[in-house]
Amino acid sequence: MNWTAIAAIYKFEMARFFRTLAQSFISPVISTSLYFVVFGAAIGSRIDQVEGVSYGAFIVPGLVMLSVITQAISNASFGIYFPKFIGTMYEFLSAPINFLEIVMGFVGAAATKALFIGIVILGTAALFVDLQIAHPLAMLSFLLLTCLSFSLMGFIIGIWASNFEQLQLVPLLVVTPLIFLGGAFYSISMLPPFWQTVALFNPVVYLISGFRWSFYGLADVPIFVSLLAIGGFTVICMGVIWWIFRTGWRIRA
């Protein structure tokens, strides 16, 4: 394992992030505050409580997931797409490193950034609502696994994309709708029975449900199913990356 190279990639990617630290910090703070104003104040004044939790507090886990997932995907996909785009990919291919090390550097950095954003959002949310975390360890595990798995997914998208439009395509057309429909801002039990069944096909439902459980002990689906889902998703992403590594798909002619 070439740890020096992994550290070099990680640091290089993080440096990009630190250079725009203020921006990286301010934008999630502002967008989270906006969500509280719009969803918490406007809708919350009508919904008041969901299963014994104030609506404002209820949406916090979903909000964190929404940002963490979007950030993980966009950071990782951009991180690996950019060298492809500007042509500096040759350096990774000619260096004495293997694909796993490249993945560890890029995905590690993307996951760290997403984690940072997630923590900033939690901190911002704590200013608006009374946050309780019933199962801190589970909360942290869910958060870390989400950062990791969606960074892996972003990496795959970045390898696959051959232009900027494609880079935006999956997050825009698939991921964001799945998160919004995945119970980020409501409980699945609030849906009509038919849509409840449909919702169970949305993988994000399991993620948000599990994450919310770690805060309030409330879940739409059993917690072990949630764990299985996020664990399974991570394994699938790793499998795809292993396949990319084996075949050199879209990387090595």
Partner: protein
């Protein structure tokens, strides 16, 4: 002389089915400058990319410093620096950070003294804190070289380092290459400028249509360059060279209608008078006589042309 890169029967077929390398073998000697000369599309970049790990070979093998580039890729690649044909740099990075990053990617511990030396040698030290996008084309190329040298490679591949560069910058680059050689680095560069190969190479390899046509000492090639050809058009065609002319370096051309005599202008005696006398003695009547200088360009064109013909015939 030690061999540092051994290329053995290397073939590359691209996904579309195009055969870009048709099985060339080549031994590169430690410390030499080898110029790979060939027209666009000859397969120069493909050859370099395969050795450096950017494309996978279809068959054949490459060893660098005795390390196989597939089974022992870490040791092999650690010895190699690559300057690609296209200039591609992280636009917002400073020169020094970009070069340090390359060193890190190769798994080497940070070494500011070495980086400073590389940047100074390439006259980049004053620009170390400039963003790469602010640099001129020639400077960017130097940054690419600095990146390639950041991990102290023993073999440096330069893919068309002077393509599209003006004369002054080209001479600058030649100087850089000469200095690198003096520091003990083995250099393989590709070019489609014959005069470039002539100016800086120790050996010249000619590649065309995915085939390595020849690899020769530049001086030997230059000696061929010093040769002239005398073309003797005959009144009557010959089926074969007469016994009496066997001593001369003669070729029968145009279906026996002319003889081509190759001779060395630098030699004390060219043998022309003796040849004419021999022709007369054989009773062969001469219609016309021409001489021409054989240039490297001619040698090159001949080679490319001949292999083309052979393929047509096959």
């Amino acid at each position: 002389m030690t061999t540092i890169v051994e290329i053995d029967d290397l073939k590359k077929v691209y996904d579309g089915g195009f055969e870009a390398l048709k099985g060339g073998s080549l031994d590169i000697r430690e410390g030499e400058i080898l110029a790979l000369l060939g027209p666009n599309g000859a397969g120069k970049t493909t050859l370099i990319s395969t050795v450096c790990g950017i494309t996978n070979a279809t068959s054949g093998s490459v060893r660098v410093g005795g390390h196989d580039i597939v089974t022992d890729f870490r040791a092999a690649r650690a010895m190699i620096g690559l300057v690609p044909q296209e200039i591609s740099l992280e636009p917002f990075e400073t020169v020094i950070r970009a070069v340090r990053y390359s060193r890190g990617l190769f798994g080497c511990k940070r070494d500011d003294a070495h980086i400073e030396k590389v940047l100074r040698d390439l006259s980049l030290w004053d620009k170390r804190n400039a963003k790469t996008m602010e640099l001129s084309g020639g400077m960017k190329r130097r940054v690419l070289i600095a990146k390639a040298l950041s991990h102290q490679p023993r073999v440096l591949f330069l893919d068309e380092p002077t393509a599209g560069v003006d004369v002054e910058l080209r001479r600058d680059m030649w100087k850089v290459v000469a200095e690198l050689k003096a520091s003990g680095v083995t250099i393989i560069l590709t070019t489609h400028y014959i005069e470039e190969a002539e100016a800086i190479a120790d050996r010249i390899g000619v590649i065309s249509g995915g085939q390595l046509l020849l690899v020769e000492e530049k001086d030997a090639l230059m000696q061929r360059l010093g040769q002239k050809q005398l073309c003797i058009e005959l009144q009557q065609s010959l089926n074969e060279l007469p016994e009496a002319l066997a001593d001369f370096d003669l070729d029968l051309c145009d279906d026996g209608a002319s003889l081509v005599y190759t001779y060395d202008t630098a030699a004390e005696r060219t043998g022309i008078a003796r040849l004419i006398a021999a022709l007369t003695a054989e009773g062969l009547n001469v219609r016309d006589i021409q001489t021409r200088q054989k240039s490297l360009e001619d040698i090159f064109v001949d080679l490319v042309h001949n292999t083309g013909n052979k393929e047509d015939a096959a």
